[in-house]
Amino acid sequence: MATHTMGMPKKKSGIMDWLTTVDHKKIGVLYIFSGLFFLLVGGVEALMIRYQLIKPMNDFVSGEVFNQLITMHGTTMIFLAAMPMLIGYMNAAVPLQIGARDVAFPFLNALGFWLFFFGGLLLNLSWFMGAAPNAGWTAYAPLSTVPDALGVDFYALGLQISGFGTLMGGINFLVTILNMRAPGMKLMRMPMFTWTAFVASALIVFAFPPLTVGLFLLTFERLFGAHFFDPAAGGNIVIWEHLFWIFGHPEVYILILPAFGIFSEIIPTFARKRLFGYTTMVFATMLIGFLGFMVWVHHMFTVGLGPVANAIFAVATMAIAVPTGVKIFNWLFTLWGGKLTFPVAMLYSVAFIPSFLIGGMTGVMLSVAPADYQYHDSYFVVAHFHYVIVGGVVFGLFAGLYYWFPLMFGKKLHEGLGKIQFWLFFIGFHLTFFPQHILGLTGMPRRVFTYLPNQGWDMMNLLSTIGAAFMGVSTIILLVQLVMALTSKEYVKRDVWGDGRTLEWTLPVPTPEYNFAQTPLVKGLDTFWLEKMAGNTTVSVSEPVGDIHMPNNSILPFVMSVGLFLAGLGFILRLDYGTVGLVIAILGLATTLTAMFLRSWIDDHGYYIPKSVIEEDLRLEAEKEAK
């Protein structure tokens, strides 16, 4: 090791540091803020949808714009808001929870983020090019293959690029969790969030390839004159639906499992009790992940695949209720007899249980194939999936934000405002989506831009829109809190919640770039809690202080992503502008390939933080603790 005498690189400042960073903590912050930005975009789209539906025969937007709004709302929320924020939490928490200094592939991590970001940008650029995608977030063929507008081209290429990024993230976390655990951190000692991140990453690795294939077929159909979905030329339109849902169903588990993980961290922390039934929790997570691949046809019951296919997939779908029920009971039993406190993170976790349960029950109703013929394409379905996605995933995102914000920024979000934010969101959520069950059962179809008066739908639609306004106000309060927290100078102490159970709370505030000065030694599940019970203030270490190897920052991930973004844009423009588009596309691809070549060509061994620097950090930290 003495032969490596690579000096520490010069600190880059400001924006350049964020563009080149390969530090998982900073990439986590980038993911979360980009996710929040897209959450706002998707939220504004949602408010416009609800405002259009506030009364019968409203003409706030045209039918065409409405179609664009619903398409972009769904796509943005799933691909660009919920998933990136969850991957952000994985970045922020997983390496710290397993006692690692970084993820397995820091460069790939940065590349994953920038691909997602530029994919999202390409998708949203469509608003400014006069044609947002308008074929629904599911983009069913043959509607999505109609060549009249550019919209779906942005959908296909934007999602393709951001999908590459997600796939890289999935691979990265699988390898990180399997290979980078601290000594003593056996699989069955991993915190629940790490477990769910692991299973969700496996789902990403298996579920994204079908989407990639589907999007390629769609792209070739639209841009290069292929006929995969054209029955007249021997194609088959149902192939798209299958490919989309083979991906799409695991996708909802990719979203909900990490959210389950977040609740499974927060509930034991604020109940001061070990998670009830940890082992069953792990197996339930794996079972949900596994069964998630066996149920995609329940989105297609009305396609006409026959009673045998419908029956098989209906039974498989109902089976998923079992491990989910196991989880619900485990959370309840964790709460039972605990010494409970209710900061905002805990409020969201407790509110999640009944809210998600309602979504789960309507899910079982929908899984009954004959009944689904009635519910299909009605507002009942809209109510169901918003109950699971908002009541499950978004509550999880907010809970995680309040819980881990001090870990990421060394400051707390304002608890008082947070409580207002929670109650507004909770009431608004139920007010928006509960009436939609009734709308669906009384026959209102989804994806209609307006409706006639006196069908018994006016009141429920009005209530639903009022609820949406509540959620809008709540989100504004969240933004105020974020600005307040980020501009404040009040730093929190180590182990901010006082009863942290897992390794991330043992770290000093702010977390040093190398995370752990000495790799910890893990003695069991919730190892920090075990050490506290044994009378220690911090966890044992497994190595002496030494030099720490760090990866160098790199601008290449950013350049590669810009290249792919330009290539996508160029191929879309080629249809209307011919050569100009082609030139942009070729330039973009050349940029990406050059960056990839440089990445392979340049030997980058990283650098070492010398022992002396780390000893100094440890000394300063000890002084701070002593005060």
């Binding site: 496996a202 079908p210 299958h242 296919a309």
Partner: protein, 109 residues
């Protein structure tokens, strides 16, 4: 920071590595020959038209499975220790892919 290897003299280590290497090389060469032989059989079976179409198809699938096995275990060191998770993941991937293909086979084509 380096892991502590059992104490061997330099000479012993070199001999050990050489032995490992030649054993490895033998396995690789044998499996390489075997795979070429199997490929020839597969081609031959079809070209000689000894079997009806459906039987030839089934035979080819079986041969393919054998080839995949050889690839993974002889060439790509799947038989080495520490590959449990890789096996689990590949198994799951194969299972998911087969389920999907079987379902689509029944429902679409």
């Amino acid at each position: 920071m380096e892991k502590h290897e059992p104490q061997l003299t330099r000479k012993q280590m070199e001999l050990e590595m050489k032995a490992d290497h030649s054993r490895e090389m033998q396995v690789q060469l044998i499996s390489f020959a075997l795979m070429i032989f199997l490929t020839l059989i597969a081609f031959g079976a079809v070209m000689a038209e000894l079997m009806p179409r459906w039987a030839a198809g089934g035979f080819l699938v079986i041969m393919a499975i054998v080839q995949v096995y050889l690839q993974l275990y002889m060439f790509m060191h799947m038989n080495n220790k520490g590959n449990t998770w890789i096996k689990v993941m590949m198994g799951l991937g194969i299972f998911v892919a087969l389920t999907i293909v079987a379902t689509l086979r029944l429902l679409i084509w």
